[in-house]
Amino acid sequence: MSTAAEHPQDLTLREQARAVAAGELDATELLDATLSRIEERDGPVNSIADVFASESARMLSEAPEGPLHGVPIAVKDMFTLPWRAPRDGALRNLQGFGQGESAVYRRLRDAGAVIVAVTNMHEFGAGSTGHLSVYGPCATPWDTSRCAGGSSGGSGAAVAARLVAGAVGTDGGGSIRYPAAYCGITGLKFTWGVVPPDGYTHGHASLGAPGPMCRDAADARLLGEALAGRPLDQRRATNLRLGIVRTFWEDIDPEVHEHCEQAIERLRESGMTVTEVELQGTEFVRIATVLRLGLEGDPFVKSEIWEEIQGDVSPVGRALAKYLSLAPATALVRTDLVRAQLRRSLARAFGHADVLAWPMVPAPAPPIEDPRVRLPSGEVPADYGNVRQGGIGNLAGVPALSAPCGFTREGLPVALHLVAHWGEDERLLDVAELLEQATERRYVDAVPPLAQKTPA
C-alpha cells in the first residue's frame, strides 16, 4: 500500500491501523494531518465541536499497542473525557457530568486509539436532523444545505467528509442510524448494554447505546470490537434468512423504496433467503419512542443547570422540553406494554428470519432551513418520519445497523436498515459486507463532492 500519494484520512480505518502497526505511517504525522484536514475541510459541514491537540498528542504518547494503535477517532459530545466535560450539544449537559474517564474513553484508550475531536450533535440528543445545536447546524457532506442527521450528526458528517475514518455515536431513538443514512456511511447501534454506560450523559436510560460510525462494515467491525471489548467475528452471510417487515416499507419516498428493494434483491441474488415476517405493536413505535426518549432523562436533569442555561437553549428545544411535561403518566406506562409486545413479537420473528430489513429513513436528508420530508402521505417533520423506522431497535434493545444502498437522483444517500437478534450484532456487519460486495462497493466507496474539492 502506498500512502505517499494520498492523505492518510483517505485511507480506511483498518488501512490506517495496519499502516501504523507496520511502521509505514507515522502516528504523529497521522494525527497532525487529521487536525489539519479538520481545519481545512470542516467549515461547510460543521461536524466538529472541539479539538484538543495537546491532549490528543498526550494520548498518543501513552497509547498502548492495540488494534487501533495511533489511529485518530472522534467521539460524540456525550462522553466524559479526562480533559473535557460533555455538553450534549448545548452550553452544558443537564445531568451535571464533569470531566472523567467514560467507558467509551477507556475502551478507545485501551485499544490504542487517539481521541482527536468531539463531534457536533443535535441539542440534548433530542432530534434526528442535527440542525439544532449550540455549535450551529451540522450538514451532510453530500449537500451542505441539508441536514447531517441526528443526533450523532457530527460523527456521521466527519466520517463522510473524511475528516476521520471512525467516530463514536450514540443511539437512543435511531441517533447513530439516521445520520449514517443521511451521510452515506455505516452506523451500528449495539445491543443495549454492550458498552458500559458510565460517563455517557444518557447512560441511565433504557434506550441508548454507543456504537461505531465508519465508512464501511469492516471498519465498523474494527472500531466496534474496541468499543464492545470483544471480537465481532465475521461469518458467511449468504446462508442467512432475511425478513421483510412490510409495515416499515409503507409511506416511503419512491426513490428510497426502489433503492432499498434493489438492495434486498442483491442480497437475495447473493444467496440469502428472503421471507416476509409480521410484527405486532408497530403502530406505536413512534409515540412510544418519543415518550420514553423524552421522559426517561427527566429525573436526572438538575433543575439549577436548566435554569442557568435555558436562555441559550434553542426556542424549539425549550418548548419541546415543556411539551413533554404535559405527557400523561399513563401514556408512559403504556409504552412498557408496547415494548413488551414488540419484544415478544421480534423474538418470534427471529425464529423465521436471522436479520430483518426495511428502509432506514423514509426520505433523504431534508434542508437545514426546513427539516421536513415529503412522503406519499404528505409533508411531515423529518423526526416524525424517521422515528417510526428506527425506534424499534431502542424500544426492544436489539442491535440495528444502517447500510448505504444507493443515491437519489439529487445525489443524496439512501440506506437499508438491518435489525438482528439480541447479542447478534456481528450478523448485521456480515450482511452489510455482503451488500457491499453485491453492489461492488459503489455506495461505501463513493466520495462526497465536498471531499473531492479540497486538495489533500
Binding site: 409515540i287 404535559l326 403504556r334
Partner: protein, 71 residues
C-alpha cells in the same frame, strides 16, 4: 385537543407546575401536539388487555417469555 383548547390547557397545566410559557413555546407545542397528539391518544385508547407486562425487562436480551427456543 387542538387549537386554542390545547393552548389554554398547556398554559394552565404548565403554570400549575410553575413552568412559564410564552407565545413561541405555545406555537411550537401546538405543532408538536398536532403531530404526536393523535398517536398518544391512540396509545391511551388501545386495548392491551392481552399483553402482559414484561416484569423482568432486560433490553440486553430476548424476553424470557417469548418462546425463543433454539437460539
Amino acid at each position: 385537543m387542538v387549537g386554542e383548547d390545547f393552548r389554554e390547557y398547556a398554559r394552565v397545566a404548565l403554570g400549575r407546575m410553575g413552568i412559564e410559557v410564552d407565545e413561541v413555546d405555545l406555537a411550537v407545542m401546538t405543532v408538536a401536539e398536532s403531530v404526536y397528539g393523535p398517536e398518544r391518544e391512540a396509545l391511551l385508547a388501545a386495548d392491551f388487555s392481552q399483553t402482559p407486562y414484561e416484569h423482568d425487562l432486560d433490553p440486553s436480551r430476548a424476553p424470557s417469555d417469548a418462546g425463543t427456543a433454539g437460539r
